[in-house]
Amino acid sequence: MRRGRLAGFAVVLGWAVFLVAGLDSRAAERPATPARGPTVIRFAHAQLEPGLREAFDALARDYMAVRPGIRVEQIAVPRRVWASWLRTQLVGGTAPDLIQLVDNDPNIILQNFRPLDEWMAQPNPHNAGTPLAGVRWQDTFVRPLAAPPAYWPVYLGFYAAPTTIFTMRLYYNRTLLRTITGRETLPASFDEFLAVCDHVRTWSKGRAQPVYAIANARPTPSTDVLFQNLMAATSQRFVVDRDPTYSLGAGTTDSARYMIHDALFTGTLTLRDPAIQASLRLVRDVGRHFQPGFLAADRDEAMFYFLQQRAVMMVTGSWDYPTLSSQANFDTGVQAIPLPGPKHPIYGRFVLGETSEADMSFRGAFALTKRSPQPEAAIDFLRYLTSVEANAKFSRVSGWVPAVRGVEPSDKVAAFYPRLNGYPRGSGWTVGVETQRLWQTYAYLLFATDDGVERLTATLEPLLNQALIGDELKETRESLSNLANYDTRAIADWALRQSGAEPLFSPERRSELHEAQTALEQAYFRSRYLLETHAKP
């Protein structure tokens, strides 16, 4: 009998061991263990512009007053070491709770960050008492979160909440402008703008310290803002009127780019097309007012020209406003990049009008790391950052545009607020890395001689097709890995459902996955079709 009891006891013990072992096998999926003591939320970003750290500090202090048991720590990392710092933190398991998605690198999302969908579907409690009370968090931003860094269509989920929007603007030295032209502001019309540039050139002639109308850098993908805007202006009508998909340009910057790419690739558009020739003339008209040697200058050199009052204007993003306004010892004005309108005698026939900025992307977006030991607390802080009250304060202190609906931009940032009343954007002929490289290499031809437009066109013509093929191949390579990713998650979701485990997706998200994959797959094969039918050896 004793043996029987022992056997029973052993079985019970064994059972307990099985259960414990079963529980323990899930330990690796758990987030890091929270440290003892008060909850500490750490968030990291790469925005070292003046005012940003102060703004985040102010919000952290306010938040700690609201949630006394929580301490918030800000980690500001210089941009140049951000990538290596981030990698080290993520691999080493020491990443803070919230991290800014700086480069929109799709390769780090799935493995390191948690989807925010469940939280996004709930109201932001910090909006209580405001018009956004009871509104889903995802619907509290100035435009739908439909693209990275907030929403990732390829992963079908929200991965970050943004704090601002970036727009591109023309900054000008109001003091210098007044001295040279007697004007307080820049004119709105394109020809008058060029007249101001001419005025600066004439005024500067013979002076010991020459002053140039516009400071600019060589056309790298990140600095080629002004030229790209000018080139896009003259393809506006093409994109809307000759859209083979009947979608008025399909509503995104990328869709216009694809359209121009396809048209160039299939030959329905060539560099000799009047619209593209006009774009090159337009670039030349403006580019001759840049400082000498701009094609070798980097962004910092261009910035020095402006800050040292050796140039009246420069084009950069809204993120530079705090830097420029704190470092410039002159009065700075800001306005939209001047472009020819539809009534312009030369360029007007290619132009619809001012472009809409409704597709401007969100920035300053923070994502929740998977290893965060206190996801709920971290999300609560993120919700606070993106609440009406906190985002208004953030905008006021940082000088950045607010991202939250209903937050009135302060006077000093109102000029950066996206323009919604405008027409769809066009696209330049530099539609990818390879065509951009071609432009960067041969742009000097446009400004070297009087017949620059013809010289550049004749030089590019035999080279363009190969560059377009390179861009197309790059697109297809990227698409392929995304298509495989969709397949992987579709079958994982199905297998989990089959086994009775919690699936990856709701039925709606699952449907969205198939829709997104179909669209990408079709675009992928369209690219391949173009390559096979139009690529010349």
């Binding site: 096998s25 739908p144 439909a146 397949d487 297998a495 669209a519």
Partner: protein, 319 residues
């Protein structure tokens, strides 16, 4: 209770005597008095206790193993979905070694992991193909057979160089022919349409394939498959000059099935409006422009242009 098989000699149990706290005592009673057990616990036979516990333990072990299997394969699938292909593959191999019953699932899991491993190699791709082929050809068919056929199609379509679109079409056609109502049969219809229409063939052949695909429309049972199928055919009509009327018909069908992604949903509404305008169906055009504005608001670069169009709309077609 009386219907249960009862072991000879009665049932063992453990009872606790109030006078001798926590000390187990053995009790024995005749099998015939089972129904009275509730009122006569002192008559339980202790000798059956280990047997009951053993059975319970075996059941518990089975349940734990099953749960472990689910959680382990589930963990592997989640690992795979999170992009950790190497770890997922190792997990699938581990499960296969311990649970022969899960072999088909782990074979597919390993195949998908192999297709995602970096760097991409022909060796991994062929290993994935072999695994899928093994699952696809095994008898009897089960749900994994469909997955295997689907992934054989995906390997031919997306992972093979040069692409074998005809081979992919064969697998997809098998799926929607033999399992038209299944989730994967429905998905295969969409993939079949893509590989058929995007293969660079003579225009006549594209047209012939298009018309054959149109005959497959009645097979579309699921809304998402119907939407995607019509989106593919609608785009093809525009790409290969198969007619604006046909393009419009497909877009209307896709829209009715429910387009989910906001920018795409807005674009489909615009496409319907634009095609309707082009074809002279001004009332329909206006309706869809207005629906676009209702959906997109100011958050779309086309909103201003559409408002402008509606403001200049011919008076006779205004409601």
């Amino acid at each position: 209770m009386s219907g249960l098989p009862v072991p000879p000699g009665g049932i063992s149990c453990i009872a606790f005597n109030a006078g001798r706290a926590n000390k187990a005592v053995e009790c024995r009673r005749p099998v015939a008095s089972l129904d009275r057990m509730a009122t006569a616990p002192a008559q339980f036979s202790y000798r059956w206790i280990p047997a009951v516990l053993l059975i319970g333990a075996v059941l518990a072990r089975a349940a734990t193993v099953e749960a472990g299997s689910t959680s382990t394969t589930a963990a592997a699938w989640r690992e795979l979905a999170a992009g950790n292909s190497r770890e997922a593959r190792a997990s699938f191999l581990k499960v296969r070694a311990s649970q022969p019953t899960a072999i088909r699932e782990t074979q597919i899991g390993e195949a998908v992991a192999l297709l995602n491993l970096q760097p991409v190699t022909a060796t991994n791709r062929e290993a994935a193909r072999r695994l899928c082929a093994e699952v696809a050809t095994a008898n009897p068919e089960d749900a994994w057979t469909l997955k295997a056929r689907y992934f054989l199609g995906r390997i031919s379509e997306l992972h093979t160089t040069p692409t074998d679109l005809a081979g992919a079409a064969t697998h997809y056609e098998w799926l929607f022919t033999h399992h038209p109502a299944s989730e994967w049969g429905q998905l295969a219809l969409v993939k079949f349409a893509i590989v058929q229409l995007q293969e660079p063939v003579a225009p006549d052949e594209t047209h012939r394939r298009y018309h054959r695909l149109v005959t497959l429309e009645p097979k579309l049972a699921e809304a998402s498959a119907r939407r995607d199928f019509h989106l593919v055919l609608g785009a093809t009509c525009l790409q290969h000059d198969l007619g604006l009327e046909e393009a419009l018909r497909h877009l209307l069908a896709a829209e009715a099935a429910g387009v989910r992604q906001p920018i795409r949903a807005a674009t489909v509404l615009i496409q319907i409006a634009e095609l309707s305008r082009k074809l002279g169906r001004l009332v329909q055009a206006r309706t869809y422009y207005e629906r676009f504005l209702a959906v997109a608001g100011d958050g779309d670069t086309r909103s201003f242009l559409v408002r402008e169009r509606l403001a200049a709309w011919p008076v006779e077609v205004k409601p």
